[in-house]
């Protein structure tokens, strides 16, 4: 893993956007969750919606970082307006791993659980396969204030 420190930059005051880039160290995913919670608060999400966004960001990052190599980097872009948040995740230096297939049809794989959780929590999400060593995913979530 790269030892470069996590960094955050804020650009613009209208159509707010924050970018967070850090080494693809699983122990740093909590930074993504914490940043997401702060941004959800700024987007006027309710306490429950903030908790949901917190979880959705974790699931997005966990899925995107799968197969990341030692020097891979995660870049997250948070875009928001009142009542709406979009999170885009890019991980470089990744390879697609063979899907984990459960031998027991009653036993869900972690990937299936993650997909189920994301589908329940956000309006729309997509997580792509690794292309040229790079995987991208995103979701959008609208809060109750915008979607009564």
């Amino acid at each position: 893993m790269s030892s470069s420190p996590a960094s955050a930059e804020r650009s613009g005051s209208v159509g707010d956007e924050v970018r967070l880039r850090f080494p693809a160290d699983l122990k740093l995913l909590m930074l993504a969750r914490m940043t997401g919670s702060a941004i959800a608060s700024r987007a006027e999400f309710s306490v429950e919606e903030i908790a949901d966004l917190h979880l959705a960001i974790d699931e997005l990052c966990t899925s995107c970082v799968e197969g990341a190599q030692g020097d891979a980097t995660v870049e997250l872009t948070f875009s928001w307006s009142a009542g709406s948040v979009r999170v885009h995740c890019t991980v470089d230096q990744v390879t697609d791993l063979a899907p984990v297939v459960s031998l027991d049809r009653d036993l869900l794989s972690t990937a299936e659980l993650s997909e189920r959780i994301l589908a329940a929590l956000v309006d729309h999400h997509e997580i792509g396969a690794a292309v040229a060593g790079r995987r991208e995913g995103f979701f959008t979530k609208t809060g109750e204030a915008k979607n009564p």
């Binding site: 974790d58 966990t62 794989s109 972690t110 990937a111 329940a120 929590l121």
Partner: protein
Amino acid sequence: MTFDPDSLGSDPILSVWHRREQGIPIVAARGEIDVSSAGLLRDALLSIDHEPHILVDLADVTFVDSTGLGVLINAQKRQQLAHGNASLQLCGLRPTVQRVIEVAGLDSVFTVAPSIEAALER
């Protein structure tokens, strides 16, 4: 109720302990269970999966993701295969953890008790 010093491991976001009450093994966790920390809980549960009944104290767990749920599902499945019934019980779930179980559609999968004390009274 206090943790005994039988710590099974910790990392920056999760600590896991083992204790026994009324002869029942209890795995207690404190912190966040995500892809980086779930291995601690998995190892703790694997170390006692020969036991017919296990309580998992999640009262101090503030976050669980799909990886954590996967660990719990697999532990429960091992219990069912080894002992013939669902003998792994989750105790003291915070609303945020209960919410994850619900959105994953697993609320009918796990046996849940409001607390360790309540589980031991059953």
